[in-house]
Subunit: 393 residues, 3 copies
């Protein structure tokens, strides 16, 4: 059945959605996969040129219908579904997408463009897979893990919003030579010939995750000076700059505004617009020192060089260079400064002298310093403007 | 007109220099350029095999004369001039350089070697450009920015001596795949086919600047263990070693002697011979915490691991591991130590107990420590020899 | 003479060993070498597909016998011997290995596999060299340095157990483009043509040492997120993870158990199982601040983010984030904590209040903190379990 016009297409999609238990997928996409050199059943990587996340349900219906027409059964009660793409599948989609084939170019109808490309290939070689995520529970396939990491890195899903439980167990640890993942066992099996003929591959990393820049095209004003510094699954808001010194941004971590990053944004940490993570500064992650509580840094805050932050910070905060603030750090604040800090916050600090770091979590406008004549860690009202707060008050 | 001998060449150059308003260029060179994949008018990178900086004015006269003979007008009152090289230009230069063609090899007559190479090409494809800088004001072209960065990185110009105002605005932010700059828009326009056919390029960085090692051949005793750690436009004196941990050297920053670099040398910071920038140590830059005052570190100084230095230091100084010294840091010095420090310096400290970091800026032989039994930051006369000063006194 | 069966082979080896002064080599292997582009006598790199270290003496006898049969004299009193492999040498070995040729595949008889590979080459082009180390003194050849670095990185020799004196002087400082070492002089000699034709190589580093991953295939559960972070000659126990932020592991340093590495393990430093080197943490090396005493960190210890450790630590220790402990750091310990610490150690601390870092070297279960209300560095009994010690007591 070749669909002749857009009205027919709309009707077709409506009919597909009437299939028993039919569920719109949260996310779906077509990947080119890299398979194991020794074990071709192992998926080492999935590259998605187009990612659909809570959108384009018509294309999803086309793909699902094509699978069913190919005799493949989809259990919509399962959390995800993955299938290898066949010529038959592609032809079926081409027939359904017929009214859009001509206009599918540049930014229009990207899913149709993918199908058109596949339709031009003489052999698909089991290299292409379609994946659907119906329920955001722990992923079960490499393809689903990659699709969620794409959704995060493309900012189609919020950081910390997706279930990635068990992702480390699903992904294969491989040697990355450029964009190509290589099984370590394959290197071992071929070490003698590779080394003796001078063809041993140049390995950039050995990891379960690829790098952000292997899959994601950043905004025109985003800069990443060393691709190793940003793991795939990180999210970088346009205007973010990642310098190459001691910086690092883990997956499911990143920025929600233009941020200068010269330090570490550990897993699940998020930094907001206008903030500056100084050279060697560490924001602790859920896997490293924060008891599982992810850290957010507000807008227009400054973490000085080689500082360590183990508590969330609000807007307009400063942690001085070399200063460490953890949840248990005792911090002295004078009565005058408490009053000034209270003016910048909804939450009001009580009248006392010594606070634990955790008590100051998330407050705006705090400047953390170490008094160099006494060694005491003290907090003051920072001189930084708190724009957000001024609007609120 | 083919010049027959070196005397004729000298006369020719003298005549060219009599052209109205003729100005010897501060710098000039011939570049191979990388043009935008989408917009070929955009220059993404300029690679100079030979850089002339306050030298080789005869070659400049040949190039300028060849441009004028091609009907191109040069306004010597402008700060810079750039033109695409034509076959006609090359032939004109060959005729003028005729007396040098045979001996132009190895280290002799490098500009002539460039022209000879271009003369052998069947088609120049708009790939080669000649640039002249007549006045060191804010650069106006990508070629001029690159030429200035070359002058800095080749140590033909002193660090901080060139006007780079607006350079960030002139350079295009691109994806670097090896030495090839790629427009981000081109990646976007071709993402589907590149990813589906497995040809998506491996991206090393996304930045306006290339890396030092993409353009510069370091001295035989210089080591850079990770190319991402040194930005193009940095200057590394022979014998400098840059380790791969937390180190970084920004453009217009670097070393003026053999230095061990395991920390960050921020923009405009300069470190002198025999000094050691420990693992994770930060020297603040003009864009990060020094109020625009660039920091110099003298000879034979040591910045301990994870220390932070926000003031200039003289020779033979030590900042202990983990210690932060900023302009506003209060530092205690005993009378005995003040006297010892004064012996190592021309500038004499007054008799008091507490100094601000800024008051100690640039002094020789100071050891900054944090007393671990009181938390007080104290300064002592370091045990490091101050060679320069001993010669002076 | 073609050996017909394994008994003949055994007899053959016994006879070879009767050669006057014959010595079993500590290590031996066959390398493919990279020679200088300008000076082909210079060995720039040696790649060993199979490394024999205190093992496979039969294969050593075959190789030595083949050299002697080729008229090459070996002085067993010298510490090492290197020779270029000829077709004659290969044929001789093939004849001796005859009983093993068929079964030499996969994990069996790797030295024989190397010879079989060489036997299939039409021309050896002076690319292959055999090296023997008879005495572990200062290495004299590039091949011997590489063989020792392989022994360390493959964990065939313990860290710090091999003599590497003068290795820096033997290795050539080269530009690394992928796995290919390039003489800097060659780049200089060809800079004009390379840059003008757009073929200037992409340089990853300039160093005497290659990277660990250029030569070593790590265990399946080892991860190295950035190849520049681990120098060849480092040793990584299976399960070790090296993150890309501020981490670095130098040669002759590494881990003896599964360790999370986000900081610097300097030359000669060793970290034991279950320990965690936090983001930007520095373990000082023999070349940087420890007066030549290499530092070991015990099991299950934690070096917090941006901490600095200049003394050896036992099991179950913690250095808080941002804290620096050097040999001379004065540390306060209360009587109660001294007693608790003594319970976790064989060595007993005396009853006093102030200790120097060096006095606490190697002790188990110490938690180093800076009191944020006084700036005093204090030590406590850590809350970390000390498994090893519990077994002992």
């Amino acid at each position: 059945m070749i669909i002749q016009n857009k009205e027919e297409f709309t009707t077709f999609v409506e009919n597909v959605k009437k299939i028993n238990n039919y569920t719109d997928p949260i996310g779906f996409a077509i990947a080119r996969v890299d398979r194991g050199q020794i074990n071709s059943d192992k998926i080492l990587q999935a590259s998605y040129p187009v990612v659909n996340w809570k959108e384009n349900y018509g294309s999803a219906a086309v793909f699902i219908s094509a699978l069913i027409d190919s005799g493949i059964e989809i259990d919509f009660n399962k959390s995800e579904f993955v299938a290898t793409i066949t010529k038959e599948f592609v032809q079926n989609c081409i027939d359904k997408f017929n009214p859009f084939l001509k206009e599918a170019k540049e930014d229009a109808h990207k899913n149709v463009q993918v199908i058109k490309y596949l339709n031009e290939q003489s052999d698909l070689n089991d290299l292409f897979r379609v994946v659907f995520i119906f329920d955001d529970v722990a992923p079960k396939s490499v393809e689903a893990v990659y699709l969620k990491l794409y959704a995060l890195s493309l900012a189609k899903a919020d950081l910390r919003s997706l279930n990635l439980d068990g992702a480390f167990g699903i992904l294969e640890n491989v040697a990355w030579s450029g964009n190509t993942p290589i099984e370590l066992d394959w290197l071992r099996a071929n070490e003698i010939s590779l080394k003796l003929n001078g063809k041993y591959p140049n390995i950039d990393s050995v990891d379960k995750f690829p790098r952000f820049l292997q899959h994601i095209i950043p905004a025109n004003n985003t800069r990443i000076l060393d691709s190793s510094k940003v793991r795939f699954g990180a999210q970088l808001h346009p205007g973010t700059t990642v310098m190459p010194g001691a910086s690092y941004i883990n997956f499911n971590a990143g920025t929600t505004g233009a941020v200068m990053v010269e330090g570490r944004i550990s897993s699940s940490a998020i930094v907001a617009d206008g903030s500056d993570i100084g050279g060697g500064a560490s924001i602790l992650g859920v896997l490293s020192g924060t008891d599982g509580n992810p850290i957010s840094i507000g807008k227009n805050s400054l973490l000085g060089a080689n500082s360590v932050t183990g508590i969330p910070l609000g807007d307009g905060c400063i942690v001085d260079a070399g200063v460490t603030i953890l949840a248990g750090t005792k911090i002295e604040i004078s009565q005058t400064e408490i009053e000034k800090i209270n003016q910048a916050n909804d939450k009001q600090l009580e009248s006392k002298t010594i606070f634990k770091g955790a008590e100051l979590a998330g407050l705006n406008g705090i400047h953390f310093r170490q008094d160099s004549l006494s060694g005491i860690i003290k907090a003051y009202r920072s001189t930084r403007e708190i724009r957000l707060n001024q609007e609120l008050h």
